[in-house]
């Protein structure tokens, strides 16, 4: 027998095993896109092996096989991630260990360990996503894991899979009020240790350099970049330039983000605000960068944000989880109209020493033709883009060494980064300070909530030129080539079918179907509300809540509040249990006394089955507990007499055997005394 357990494990109930398999699959599913590719076949193999062990076809793997598996699993994770630290590699390692534990699940204790590990693997999902939908998924899997635990406790008896599921669903539902109370009320203490969650590979979005191809990549991503929730009107399309970063250094091929935001603080005297203003809140998805999106000229109301001299805002550290902040924007502004410093003048006229000679000549020539007027030069470049054979496409031909030359004079096909880049290059050739700005443009107005959804495919690049007396002026060369792109947003403007062929089932493809579009927007709205009201709940908001509930926040009051809530929950549970068991309410005194006696015995492992009569119970007990025979017999006799004998007989029994006179309550008192004094 013992050998058999060693080969095939302890006799696990079939339903528990089935639930455990489902648990395994469900707990790992959300991580599949993150873990190394070899894990999927390894996962399948391990599950197959475990099933065969359960069917007693194969034995458990031997020590050397397990050692080999663990070492190769560890090596596989390191090869894939280069490290075992950080969330991705850590989770991959955890899942590897979780998988291989299946192959050592010999005893019942091991099975419980696997269940506990399942909770842990499931919880790591929150390192990556905190959306409503992943929360709901986690709740669902929680039910399955708990059901596995319930089923494991049902050793021996064959039960249907649905029964533990029902029990566990009930448990989870009952725990939800407590969950909510703890979430909102339990004091939030800062973490004692912190994982460095930044992992730039994970984030899709703007990067600190912009070379041909980058924005086209983004254009194929339907991921959300951020949401902007407006108090008042949503701005028109022409104002929706979400500024993130300024690119000022060109190496002949790639534009690099300005380093100036590190050094140049924003000087309020440089800015003249207009009258119009927009008040809104941005809910930014994690970017892995420090830039905060906002419409220029913005005031970002966030403690950890800093305004820079580039009219951008940066966060104190990389944004690796969703962040929300309030912004006030003044679209009619003038910035640095009086002049640039010498250093700035140099930076914004920078060009690489060599290369793109034709473009340089062309810029100087246009400037001469325009009568040395910056405005006229800008006009003439835009006119050229508009009237000559320039095309807007997201699949431009590849460019060689002199990207600007080739673009301007040969291919003439490109998208915003090409046009804006070439535009800045031409202006700088003519000696006019100019820079490239990266960010997003447009956004989809949400029909239900008063907010805009800005997706990665809204990523955009435009230019800024400095003109004496006017300061920095925004120029969007893409508008000259593809006015639709600017007027209607990125999706409606492109007729290029290749845009979406990459993934035939992408949400963008389905976007044109009205019903689906509505469902998608509704889903986003729900998720938005979730984020706004739940995920963004932090210690600051908790303090506000405490203040509004308690007036003054002291530890005593918080403790009193928590205690009060706990008491209410317990009270509800007690009332619920009483209501759910009408038997407990309507039992008479005699029955309650007898059940007390039964539960005393049950605590010592002599439980009475619901269908077991008092007499048979007593017979069974007397065999197992010879020392207590007299007590047990007497209590049973009194109980049976009280419940089942006619009143006359009750009188008889009392006159014979006790000092009480023959009334019902006296016999009951006798029973009570005996039950109270009954000891095992």
């Amino acid at each position: 027998m013992a050998r058999d357990v060693k080969r095939h494990g302890f006799p696990m109930p079939r339903s528990a095993f089935v639930l455990l398999l489902i648990t395994n699959v469900l707990a790992v599913i959300p991580h599949l896109e993150r873990v190394p590719g070899w894990m999927l076949p390894a996962f399948g193999g391990v599950l197959l092996w475990r099933i065969q062990v359960f069917r007693q076809r194969w034995p458990f793997p031997g020590r050397s096989v397990r050692l080999l598996l663990v070492v190769s699993g560890f090596a596989g994770v390191i090869l894939h991630h280069g490290t075992v630290l950080g969330p991705d590699a850590g989770v991959a390692l955890l899942i590897t260990a979780y998988l291989f534990k299946q192959l050592e699940m010999v005893t019942r204790r091991d099975a419980f360990l696997v269940v506990i590990l399942s909770y842990f693997v499931l919880a790591t999902e929150f390192l990556f996503s905190r959306s409503l939908y992943s929360t709901l998924y986690v709740l669902l899997v929680l039910v399955v894991i708990t059901a596995t635990q319930v089923a494991l406790n049902h050793s021996g008896s064959r039960i249907a899979v649905t029964q533990p599921l029902k029990v566990s669903a009930k448990l989870i539902l009952q725990s939800i009020p407590l969950m909510i109370a703890l979430f909102f009320l339990f004091p939030r203490v800062g973490p004692l240790w912190q994982l460095n969650l930044t992992n730039k590979q994970n984030f899709i979005g703007l990067s600190d350099r912009m070379s041909p191809g980058d924005i086209a990549e983004l254009s194929r991503s339907g991921n959300l970049a951020f949401r902007a929730e407006f108090r008042g009107d949503v701005p028109p399309m022409r104002d929706r330039y979400w500024r993130a970063a300024v690119f000022d250094w060109f190496d002949g091929r790639t534009w690099h983000a300005s380093q100036a935001d590190r050094f140049d603080a924003f000087n309020p005297q440089d800015l003249a605000r207009g009258q119009r203003r927009y008040d809104y809140r941005i809910i930014l998805e994690p970017t892995g960068q420090r830039w905060l999106m906002a419409m220029a000229a913005a005031e970002v109301h966030l403690g950890d944000a800093r305004a820079t001299g580039l009219l951008t805002h940066v966060h104190k550290k990389e944004i690796d989880s969703a962040l929300s902040y309030d912004v006030t924007s003044y679209p009619d502004f003038r910035y640095q109209p009086d002049g640039l410093t010498a250093r700035e003048g140099m930076i914004y006229r920078q060009l690489p020493a060599t290369g793109n000679d034709a473009a340089r000549r062309h810029g100087r020539e246009l400037f001469r033709k325009a009568g040395e007027s910056p405005q006229a030069l800008i006009e003439s470049i835009l006119r050229a883009f508009r009237e000559e054979e320039f095309y807007y496409t997201l699949k431009p031909p590849l460019l060689g060494a002199n990207t600007v030359d080739e673009f301007l004079f040969q291919t003439r096909r490109g998208y915003c980064a090409h046009y804006a880049g070439a535009f800045v290059f031409l202006l700088r050739s003519a000696g006019i300070p100019a820079r490239l700005v990266g960010g997003y443009h447009g956004g989809e107005a949400h029909p239900i909530g008063n907010y805009l959804l800005v997706h990665q495919y809204d990523a955009h690049a435009w230019a800024e030129a400095w003109i004496a007396g006017q300061g920095w002026v925004r120029v969007d060369p893409t508008a000259a080539v593809a006015p639709n792109r600017i007027e209607m947003g990125s999706l409606d403007s492109t007729s290029d079918d290749s845009f979406m062929t990459d993934s035939p089932l992408s949400p963008e493809r389905l976007r044109n179907m009205a019903l689906f579009a509505r469902a998608r927007l509704l889903a986003d709205y729900v998720d938005y509300l979730w984020f706004k009201n739940v995920v963004s709940y932090n210690s600051e908001k908790q303090n506000q809540l405490f203040r509004s509930l308690l007036g003054q926040v002291t530890p005593q009051r918080i403790a009193a509040l928590l205690g009060g809530v706990a008491a209410v929950i317990v009270l509800i549970l007690v009332v619920g249990i009483l209501l759910r068991h009408p038997a407990m309410r309507t039992l008479d005194r005699t029955d309650r006394l007898y059940l007390q006696f039964c539960s005393k015995l049950a605590r010592r492992g002599f439980e009475r089955q619901p269908g077991e009569g008092p007499q048979s119970y007593a017979d069974r007990l007397c065999q197992q507990l010879p020392a207590q025979t007299t007590q047990i017999r007497r209590i049973t006799e009194i109980y049976l007499t009280l419940k089942y004998a006619p009143a006359v007989q009750r009188g008889n029994i009392q006159q014979q055997k006790s000092q009480y006179s023959g009334t019902l309550s006296d016999l009951q008192k006798d029973l009570q005394l005996r039950v109270r004094s009954f000891r095992l």
Binding site: P582, A583, R585, T586, L587, D591, Y594, L595, Q609, P610, G611, E612, G613, P614, Q615, S616, L640, K643, Y644, A645, P646, Q649
Partner: protein, 309 residues
């Protein structure tokens, strides 16, 4: 007062049917509550022996019919014959006009013949050509039958099974008893020397006593929980009828009396539940007729003994 008589009966029967105390008490309880008894088991398990012993011990006059497939209703009830001497028809009573009718292998007869007997059982009288003949004051049918799966049987329909208060199986004897049998002790030989253990008046008194056994409200609650369970649980194809409920209480009373108590406790109900309910609970899908055992186990396990209604 009644206990010595009962002890006498049990002891007397125990000398014939060794080691079957439980079944003997159940059979006695059945007859004391004036119910008909169906003994079902494989051939050679002592069904016939028990039925003969019961009749003899109770001091009742009995007749035995071996049921076969060519047995006709008239063979049981009797026939009307022309008496040439008196020049008139006269009714000649059949074996049914006895105090105990031992119907051996009742399921070997055709449904028509079975029907004739079962009608007599229910009405305690026989009607032939418009004339009713009452059966004796004491009238029991102790029928034996082979399991339905045996060859050449006509299973009794549910409505007729209902006429039997209890259905009891004897089961194999335990090794000690079997040893005695193998050594050459033949219970049938001892049947001949068996003397009645009760007088007619004592038997009457005992039967009257059954209806005075006390049934408390708490016990009726338990019975009603059982009935409700068979009607509500998805396990059951058909629930127990009110008649079955009455049979259950009546049998439990008799069993309490046989066990020497003057009030019924839940264990009495549990003891008679199998014999009383099994043959009534088998659904029509049930081929072997023994689905009932599983269902009764279900009731015993799931219906709480203590609790409200």
């Amino acid at each position: 007062m009644s206990q010595p008589i009962i002890d006498r009966l049990v002891t007397a029967l125990g000398t014939i049917l060794l080691g079957k105390d439980g079944q003997i008490r159940l059979a006695l309880a059945c007859l004391l509550s004036r119910g008909h008894l169906l003994l079902e088991d494989l051939p050679g398990m002592g069904k016939t022996t028990l039925s003969h012993a019961l009749a003899k011990v109770l001091g009742l006059e009995y007749q035995r019919i071996q049921f076969t497939s060519d047995l006709l209703p008239a063979d049981i009830i009797g026939t009307t014959l022309f008496n040439p001497g008196q020049s008139q028809f006269e009714f000649r009573k059949g074996p049914v006009f006895s105090e105990v009718l031992l119907a051996d292998e009742i399921n070997r007869a055709t449904p028509k013949t079975q029907g004739a007997l079962l009608e007599a059982m229910e009405e305690r009288q026989v009607t032939v050509e418009g004339h009713s003949y009452p059966l004796p004051h004491q009238f029991f049918v102790i029928a034996t039958q082979n399991p339905v799966t045996q060859m050449g049987t006509f299973p009794l329909p549910e409505s007729q099974l209902d006429r039997f208060l209890m259905r009891i199986s004897l089961g194999y004897p335990d090794p000690k008893v079997e040893r005695a049998l193998l050594k050459g002790k033949n219970p049938r030989d001892e049947l001949e020397f068996l003397q009645p253990a009760v007088s007619k008046t004592e038997l009457d008194a005992l039967q009257k006593k059954v209806s005075t056994v006390h049934v408390s409200d708490a016990l009726l609650d338990y019975v009603q929980r059982i009935l409700a369970h068979t009607r509500e649980s998805s396990q059951f194809v058909v629930g127990l009828s009110p008649r079955a409920g009455m049979a259950l209480v009546k049998s439990a009373r008799a069993f309490a009396l046989v066990s020497g108590r003057e009030h019924v406790i839940p264990e009495d109900v549990q003891a008679v539940l199998g014999p009383v309910a099994e043959h009534r609970l088998s659904g029509s899908r049930d081929v072997t007729g023994h689905e009932g055992e599983r269902l009764v186990d279900h009731v015993l396990k799931h219906v709480p003994v203590i609790g409200s209604r």
